[in-house]
């Protein structure tokens, strides 16, 4: 369990960075609660819709944008280069770097889903699609973070380079909310199948497999692409 020492170090680094605390810890919670308040006030977008948007927000802020920034910072500090020669296998290094953000997403989603369920008139008909949405969404966001970090030469540039990925996640969710129903081409936008899974908790008849398949395909594609383009040391 040597990789846990890396998880601990990354967690410390996350909590010691004021920027990361605001962006990855506080922002998703504030935006999530804000969306819920708006949905309850207007009577639109509550329940499954609120959960979907909340999940995409927290995936976008923590395991995607937060991890992209952290990876760019570790590469810039030459920590990633050094990690390549430690006793951990590559997969354990990746897991160690991503685990704090995954943990954060799980805790944040528990808080926000709990609030959404408590605030709405109807609690989710089934909880497991929410768990599946988080479990599938976190690896997808993490893989997108590695792919995006490949094109992020410095941590401060992450604010720019994460915009397309953030739009693909959050914009996809908004698209789904606005559409009559998801189609297969729509599911190519990463936010769509993740939002579809979250909404399924409030729609007992909604099928889960199409969205889950889409998330798996998108995650595999993002992992493959990241494996191809990710650099462990700065370009000289």
């Amino acid at each position: 369990m040597t990789w846990l020492i890396l998880v601990r170090a990354e967690l410390l680094l996350l909590l010691r960075s004021p920027l990361a605390v605001v962006n990855a810890v506080l922002s998703p919670l504030l935006f999530g609660v804000g969306w819920l308040w708006l949905a309850e006030s207007t009577g639109r977008g509550a329940g499954g819709d609120a959960a979907a948007i909340q999940l995409l927000l927290l995936l976008g802020f923590a395991p995607f944008a937060g991890a992209t920034t952290a990876l760019a910072a570790r590469r810039s500090d030459l920590v990633l280069k050094r990690l390549r020669t430690c006793a951990l296998p590559g997969a354990a290094v990746v897991a160690g770097l991503m685990a704090p953000f995954a943990l954060l997403a799980v805790v944040q989603s528990a808080v926000l889903f709990g609030l959404t369920a408590a605030a709405g008139d109807a609690p989710p008909a089934r909880w497991w699609p929410l768990v599946v949405a988080v479990a599938a969404g976190v690896p997808l966001a993490g893989a997108l973070a590695f792919a995006t970090a490949a094109g992020t030469p410095a941590p401060e540039l992450a604010q720019l380079t994460t915009v397309p990925g953030f739009l693909a996640l959050f914009g996809g969710g908004m698209w789904l909310l606005d559409a009559a129903g998801p189609t297969w081409p729509m599911r190519l936008a990463p936010g769509v199948p993740v939002a579809e899974l979250a909404r399924a908790a409030w729609s007992p008849a909604a099928p889960v497999w199409p969205a889950l398949t889409a998330v798996a395909v998108l995650t595999a594609a993002a992992v493959g692409f990241a494996d191809l383009v990710f650099r462990w040391e700065p370009r000289r």
Partner: protein, 299 residues
């Protein structure tokens, strides 16, 4: 069981079209310190990167404790201490946290005494970003020495250290060597070579151009005689010498004469006879050094 801990045979390493290492070979035995020398870009760091398993060679073979370091990185990590050229620390972690992290990532148990060994025990709670360059180098050395590894790969380990810290680092490295560790060290500091090296390997453009003990690689190379001569001799040519003569004007009335010679005793006698009766002043005869060798090797 062989005593060879680090072995490189016909090692080649290429970055795109550029071949950084072109057939380098050497061994480092238990308890031996080998200095890898060369100008910037000679291929020293690339050789170390291959030995630490960070890079795969494009040709030849390397073995660390009999294993291929690229394939057996995890197995070798506890047995190989590395001071990389660039530190690679996260600035927000403290000295103690950084030391524990990287020692454990080498597959070792935390070594609370490691920072004290390099004189960082009073900086344990300080974030690494607040350390000076020399202190970061010492932290690197502490991590490398933890667990008494069988091999040490040290890429300019004393760069940026103050004289006292350098002496302390040399003592630590010598002690580990005496305890049986095989040490491969790169440096540009000639006093470090003289203080530590059992053998040297000199690289030029990725090729080994000289190898052996400092005495072996400088054997047969010329001595240097430097002396001040009286003003009246400036216009009289010196006698025929075995070595080459060079004059340098000085602030005073005399001049400085340098003779680079393979026969220092005979040439010194000839110079003394030539300068009689006033004689030579400030005579210094310098034997050949590794520094001379390095200066003569073009980049």
């Amino acid at each position: 069981m062989t005593d060879n801990v680090l072995t490189a045979r016909d090692l080649r390493c290429r970055y795109g079209a550029f071949e950084a290492v072109r057939g380098a070979g050497f061994t480092v035995r238990r308890g031996e310190l080998l200095c890898l020398l060369g100008t910037n870009g000679a291929g020293k760091t690339t050789v170390l990167d291959v030995l630490r398993g960070h890079r795969r060679p494009t040709g030849g073979a390397v073995r660390v404790l009999g294993l291929d370091p690229a394939r057996h990185r995890r197995r070798l990590a506890p047995a190989v201490g590395v001071v990389p050229q660039d530190p690679g620390f996260a600035g927000a972690l403290t000295v103690a946290e950084t030391c524990e992290l990287w020692v454990r990532l080498r597959g070792l148990r935390p070594d609370a005494g490691a920072p004290a060994e390099v004189g960082l025990d009073h900086r344990l709670t300080v974030p690494v970003r607040q350390l000076s360059g020399g202190e970061r180098r010492r932290l690197d050395l502490a991590i490398a020495l933890a667990g008494h590894p069988a091999a040490l790969l040290l890429d300019e380990p004393t760069a940026g250290l103050d004289p006292q810290s350098r002496e302390r680092a040399w003592e630590l490295i010598r002690a580990r060597c005496a305890a049986g560790a095989a040490v491969l060290l790169t440096t540009h500091a000639l006093d470090e070579v003289e203080a530590l090296a059992d053998r040297i390997v000199l690289l030029r453009a990725g090729r080994v151009v000289a190898a052996g003990t400092p005495a072996e690689v400088t054997a047969g190379r010329p001595h240097r005689i430097v002396c001040a001569v009286p003003a009246r001799l400036r216009d009289r040519p010196p006698p025929a010498l075995a070595g080459a003569v060079a004059w340098r004007a000085t602030a005073g009335p005399g001049a400085e004469l340098t003779v680079t010679t393979p026969a220092p005793a005979a040439d010194l006698d000839a110079l003394r006879a030539w300068a009689a009766p006033a004689g030579l002043a400030r005579v210094a005869v310098t034997p050949p050094s590794v520094g001379d060798l390095l200066r003569e090797v073009p980049a």
